[in-house]
């Protein structure tokens, strides 16, 4: 499904120089930390179990927040790669709790630490699961999107909670029968030796794929995250001699935590900044729309005034004529003069109307063959930010072949923009749960192409539906009732039709038909840019 790419989000934007400097600083910090702690890494530290719950809590908070931010970005962008990454973070966060609860000598009163192997199995699942998620994120094409992100988020969160439960059950009940990871509460058994290399391998693969692609700022940050995990494993498993609670074990975790915290802060700052920019753009879009409406308002006021003068004159003349005739001695000469003036007034009014029409529809005669799909995509691009804020999903159903229509591209773009704006407004006002605009191009009557704009708003009640294309009829609180009138007159001027139907189960469908062009041109983008 095509989806308008948004350059303003961290998952799509490229890093700025400042960001690159921060990234570099974090990397240097990690390497320095590795070098500084390496000589002391093997020293054991006794009685530091009490710090473990604090560490686990910090990990839980940082990783759930990161996951939430990524899920939120996914909701807007709908890219599967983001969903995978967010799931990795959530899994890691969910497993941090049982990891701490089963850690030997920490929550002894709860009795979860009876099974010596459980903690190590959970740790292994956490490491490998997260690394696999990052690799999955790196390998996914970001253009691969899904239709209803909310449903995917619910499914992922549900699946992850169930998965974490399964891991916990497995770790507590099955593991005693499998090869032992731990020799005692502190030192690892030979079987554990396979886990760190596997994790390191996955981290390395992830880093290479991410740095080769460098699709966005987020990619770079994720490779930094992988580097920090890489360093963490080096410190914990190799320099810390794979002994729990050694200096290397703790410092690896500490630096990993700092790196994760930094990444979270960057994500937060980026997201907040992007949101502010998005709002700004949406405000600009709305302002442009309002200016358009104000111009239309001014135009209609001046039309009203211009027409009113000859109209007033006609009424007065007609009254004068009647009064001349109803006098005791009817004055036919005066009445005739009044009638002649009425004729003049009528011609004058006609001149005003045709003058406005020429001005209004200037260039309307320039008709070219245009790919309808291009016009719709262009209109969608113009209101992308406002739709993102209103959380309106757009689904486009285009036929495989190109549908060319004969039209004035600028006017058709205005019509399509108007129909999209109306749909978004209706769904915003309606407060429905699902806000989806489905735009489809279909075959109409022979020689015609049809486009349908189906929304899931409250719909248009039948008593208004008959009048909705008349001027000054609007269902919006601040609507002028000019938009649909304009749309219909433009479509009809092109030899097409515009009508409304009800959408099931709720909403409205606006549909227009236009004469199809038999010429299929190679250049599809004929002057859509006014």
């Amino acid at each position: 499904m095509p989806s308008s790419s948004d350059q303003r989000l961290i998952a799509t934007s490229l890093p700025s120089d400042t960001q690159l400097r921060v990234i570099f600083a974090v990397v240097v910090m990690l390497v320095v930390a590795l070098a500084a702690t390496a000589p002391y890494a093997g020293r054991p530290t006794d009685g530091t179990e009490i710090f473990l719950p604090a560490y686990a809590a910090a990990v839980l908070v940082i990783e759930t927040t990161t996951a939430a931010l990524l899920f939120a970005t996914f909701r807007v962008q709908r890219s599967v790669s983001l969903l995978v990454l967010a799931s990795g973070y959530l899994l890691s966060a969910a497993l941090a709790v049982p990891w701490a609860l089963t850690f030997p000598g920490v929550f002894s009163t709860l009795g979860f630490d009876q099974n010596l192997q459980a903690t190590a199995w959970i740790a292994a699942a956490r490491r490998i699961g997260f690394a696999a998620a990052v690799v999955g994120f790196a390998l996914c094409d970001p253009r691969w999107t899904v239709r209803s992100p909310s449903r995917w988020i619910s499914a992922s969160v549900g699946g992850l909670v169930a998965g974490a439960g399964l891991v916990l059950w497995f770790a507590l009940t099955v593991t005693p029968d499998l090869p032992a990871f731990m020799a005692d509460a502190r030192t690892t058994a030979p079987a554990w030796a396979y886990v760190p290399p596997l994790a390191l391998l996955l981290y390395a693969v992830g880093m290479v794929v991410l740095l080769r692609g460098r699709r966005s700022t987020l990619d770079i940050w994720m490779s930094v995250a992988l580097l920090s995990l890489f360093v963490e494993i080096l410190l914990i498993s190799y320099m810390g001699a794979a002994v729990r609670l050694s200096v290397g074990w703790w410092s690896g975790r500490f630096f990993g935590l700092v790196a994760a915290g930094t990444i979270l802060l960057v994500l937060l700052a980026e997201t907040t900044g992007s949101y502010a920019r998005l709002v700004q753009v949406a405000i600009n879009e709305r302002r442009a729309r309002r200016d358009r409406l104000t111009a239309m308002e001014a135009l209609s006021a001046s039309i009203a005034h211009e027409i009113n003068q000859p109209l007033a004159s006609m009424v007065t003349n007609a009254n004068a004529g009647l009064r001349w005739l109803s006098r005791a001695e009817p004055q036919t000469g005066e009445a005739e003069a009044a009638l002649k003036r009425i004729v003049d007034d009528g011609h004058r009014a006609d001149k005003i109307v045709s003058g406005i029409r020429t001005m209004f529809l200037k260039g309307a005669q320039e008709r070219v063959a245009v790919d309808l799909k291009c016009v719709i995509d262009e209109a969608l691009g113009r209101s992308a930010s406002e739709r993102a804020l209103a959380a309106v999903e757009v689904e486009t159903v285009y036929p495989p072949e190109v549908k060319m229509v004969i039209c004035n591209p600028i006017q058709l773009l205005q019509v399509v923009s108007n129909l999209i704006d109306n749909a978004v407004d209706a769904m915003k006002a309606g407060g429905g749960r699902v806000r989806r605009l489905t735009i489809s191009i279909e075959d109409g009557e022979p020689g015609e192409v049809e486009a349908a704009f189906a929304d899931t708003g409250p719909g248009v009640s039948p008593d208004i539906a008959d009048r909705i294309f008349l001027p000054f009829v609007s269902t919006k609180p601040d609507g002028m009732g000019m938009g649909l009138m304009f749309c219909r007159s433009v479509i009809e001027a092109h030899g097409g039709r515009l009508w409304i139907a009800a959408n099931a189960p709720t909403g409205a469908v606006f549909r227009f038909s236009l004469p199809a062009s038999t010429v299929v041109e190679e250049s599809n983008k004929v002057g859509v840019h006014p």
Binding site: H305, N308, Q309, A312, N319
Partner: protein
């Protein structure tokens, strides 16, 4: 001084001007039309009851502004406003400043004719009052200073005897003055006298 009413029409749209002229002429009014406020001011106004039909939106200035200017000059016939785009604040301002009516184009002919009729009647009354005032003032000026003193005191409700005491005159002299005053002011009763002094704003001057 003529009594045949005149209607002045000021509108910058020639078609509206002609149609209004025809409508007003069809019911027998003498009509004079002007394209602008300046043309109207430059023309000599007839000494007759009149009414002004004025478009709110005139070339170069607003009708409301022109209304204020005419009021300052103190010679304005009543104004009937017609407008293509009347809003409530505008009509309120016009009515507060003394307009007869505020009509939106296109208006019902009867509404306009009623308004014009009312304006002319109002102007006629104003003119009559002004001329009656001038008459009274002329009569009052024929009184001697002593008679004016007596008139003020009598009008304030004093008896002849009291007036005589105040002015150090005999009662008989006061009676003579009083008869003269009544004669000169063409007042038949004491009530007439009081009404006249009232309109002239004469009050008792304490000395």
């Amino acid at each position: 001084m003529s009594d045949d009413p005149v209607v002045y029409v000021i509108d910058d749209d020639p078609a509206i001007r002609v149609s209004l002229e025809s409508l007003l002429a069809s019911v027998g009014y003498a009509v004079r039309t002007f394209a602008s406020a300046e043309d109207f001011l430059a023309a000599e106004q007839a000494d007759a009851p009149a009414c002004l039909v004025l478009d709110v939106r005139l070339k170069g200035r607003s009708g409301l502004e022109f209304q204020r200017e005419l009021a300052r000059r103190g010679q304005s016939p009543p104004i009937v406003f017609v407008t293509g785009h009347g809003d409530v604040p505008m009509s309120v301002a016009a009515m507060k400043a003394g307009a007869v009516e505020f009509l939106t184009k296109p208006f019902r002919d009867q509404d306009l004719l009623d308004a014009v009729h009312e304006g002319i009647e109002r102007h006629r009354r104003e003119r009559e009052q002004a001329s009656a005032m001038g008459q009274i003032l002329g009569l009052y000026e024929t009184l001697s200073p002593r008679e004016r003193q007596v008139a003020a005191l009598v009008a304030s409700g004093l008896m002849n005897k009291q007036v005589a005491d105040r002015l150090g005159l005999s009662e008989v002299t006061v009676k003579v003055h009083r008869a003269q005053i009544m004669h000169k002011l063409q007042a038949r009763t004491l009530a007439d006298l009081i009404r006249i002094t009232d309109r002239l704003g004469i009050t008792l001057v304490q000395d």
